[in-house]
């Protein structure tokens, strides 16, 4: 049964130095508050896993919390590049970042295999691309048809962290809107933390709602607004202006560092 806890205690208990951590959420429901809490706990040497690193991993990479990044699309959606991600890969700032990249289909299948506790997933893809030579995939032949396919290795992170709209007092979680790969990430991981906009007495079924039973989750913490500047459908709106602002701010190392210290990392911010 999921333990209802605070964000600070949940992060402190579940995320350790050097862990492989998947903070998932495909454009929607990105767990920014939890990611920031991981930074305030000073966790470093992390293997960060996310299909779309987005601004959250740009921030985590920029402050030097990541040793390795596993991803499939490192852009600022609709705006451009991710400047801290680029600076780490192109210039090794603030320190070199090891990368492993896939396609979206590859990452999605890796999470699904991880959730199923299968060693790999089979798919059509990668063949003919230069990705074949630069990432972890292998050619396999279908034993039934002889078709040449690609196998991608399962992803089983130490910890998955996701954000959802609501949970009940038993820790059953419901999210709706774009579901991304969050359910797969939670079921693939050894440990899991879910932050929610609100705790309710009873979950009210929503069209397309994805419910994850509390007994499949380690901890649930209330974090209202915890997906900003991403969004929680029906509760908060995506802050597109912030995504544009980030493109300008994050180009400069000093401006980035000052902003992070002032808005994310400072003691007084943590106390809020």
């Amino acid at each position: 049964m999921a333990e209802l806890t605070t964000l600070r205690e949940g992060v402190g208990a579940l995320i350790r130095e050097g862990d492989s951590v998947a903070l998932e959420g495909f454009t929607h429901l990105i767990p920014f508050a939890a990611g920031h809490e991981i930074l305030r706990h000073g966790r470093r040497e992390l293997e960060l896993i996310r299909m779309t690193p987005d601004l959250l991993y740009d921030q985590m990479i920029g402050v030097g919390a990541a040793r390795r990044l596993v991803f499939s699309y490192g852009g600022n959606p609709g705006v451009g590049g991710l400047h801290r991600f680029r600076d780490a890969i192109e210039n090794g700032w603030p320190h070199p970042l090891e990368i492993e990249e896939h396609s979206h289909a590859g990452m999605a299948n890796r999470f699904a295999a991880g959730a199923a506790r299968m060693p790999c997933a089979l798919m059509r893809g990668y063949l003919g691309t230069d990705l074949m030579a630069h990432t972890r995939v292998e050619r396999v032949t279908c034993p039934f048809t002889g078709e040449e396919l690609v196998a991608v290795p399962a992803l089983n992170p130490d910890v998955a962290v996701i954000h959802a709209q609501e949970a009940d007092r038993l820790g059953n979680v419901q999210l709706w809107g774009i579901p991304g790969v969050q359910k797969e990430a939670v079921l693939a991981a050894e440990r899991s933390l879910v932050t929610v906009e609100r705790i309710v007495d009873e979950l009210e079924p929503k069209p397309g709602g994805v419910v994850i039973p509390g007994w499949a989750i380690d901890a649930v913490a209330e974090a209202p607004g915890g997906s900003r500047p991403s969004y929680s459908l029906g509760i908060t709106d995506r802050d597109n202006d912030f995504y544009r602002f980030w493109d300008k701010l994050s180009r400069d190392r000093d401006a980035f560092t000052d902003w992070m210290n002032e808005n994310i990392l400072g003691e007084e911010v943590a106390a809020r």
Binding site: Y73, R86, A105, M123, P179, Y243
Partner: protein
């Protein structure tokens, strides 16, 4: 006969507007289109407004049948989810919808395009020591492998249209005839590259891109100059029909929302 035009539409169309309008026209009679953000999204919404009100818009985020009123900034904006016929997870999107070839047309962009319409969106320079690290593959490789056909939308410059890709992220027509079949790809691959200067289409035999259409006011020399290889030119390339008043007015109204 005089055609009535609104003041907004009377101004001459920009090259970017023509590119968007031409892309939208390609969606006449199409059932479903897979789109990323930016110009492809604008073109697909325009197509729904002007040419094909029943067109099903599919975004990578899992929103199938989205009907956005505004041009979304990201592929996962709330309006896409709120207006979709169905919203699916990412594994479902790729394994049940894209992979089996259920989507008719895909619009893709890229930082580099070669003569066989292969695409690079990964790095400029060496992979391990990139000059410019680009976002990476996203959904493009499997989208291009499996959707019914692919339409590439890119700005026409020597930087983009290159003799040799620095990295092949997405296979278009590989090294030429038979390449897609050898790889087991089910979709037809790129059928057009729409730029701000004109339209290139693969030669049916050689699969090499050929200039088949020029936008108004653009000449062949200009397009060849903006292409990083010795671009083949079709016999008597057509001239793009300029945007109609209706198209331009709808596009400008959409952008202003």
């Amino acid at each position: 006969m005089t055609v009535q035009q609104s003041p907004a539409a009377s101004a001459e169309a920009t090259a970017g507007e023509i590119q968007t309008v031409v892309a939208a026209r390609r969606l006449r009679g199409v059932g479903s289109v897979f789109i990323g953000v930016g110009r492809p999204s604008t073109a697909a919404i325009l197509a729904r407004m002007v040419h094909n009100p029943d067109l099903v818009l599919v975004y990578e985020s899992g929103t199938i049948g989205a009907k956005p009123y505004h041009i979304p900034l990201s592929i996962g904006d709330g309006e896409l989810a709120e207006t979709a016929d169905s919203i699916v997870s990412v594994p479902e999107m790729f394994n049940y919808w894209i992979g089996p070839g259920r989507i008719d047309v895909a619009f893709l962009g890229a930082a580099q395009v070669d003569r066989h319409a292969n695409l690079n969106s990964t790095v400029i320079g060496d992979y391990n020591h990139p000059k410019t690290r680009l976002p990476g593959a996203g959904g493009a490789p499997e989208i291009a492998a499996s959707c019914g056909e692919v339409i590439v939308i890119a700005p026409h410059t020597q930087r983009t249209f290159v003799e040799r890709l620095h990295f092949c992220t997405t296979v278009g027509h590989g090294d030429g005839p038979g390449a897609r079949e050898r790889l087991g790809f089910r979709g037809a691959g790129p059928t057009a590259v729409i730029t701000d200067l004109g339209v290139l289409e693969p030669d049916p035999e050689s699969k090499e891109l050929v200039l088949v259409q020029l936008h108004p006011g653009v000449d062949v020399g200009q397009v060849r100059e903006a292409t990083g290889w010795d671009l083949r030119v079709g016999e008597a390339p057509a001239v793009t029909e300029p945007p109609t008043g209706e198209e331009l007015e709808a596009l400008r109204e959409l952008v202003s929302r």
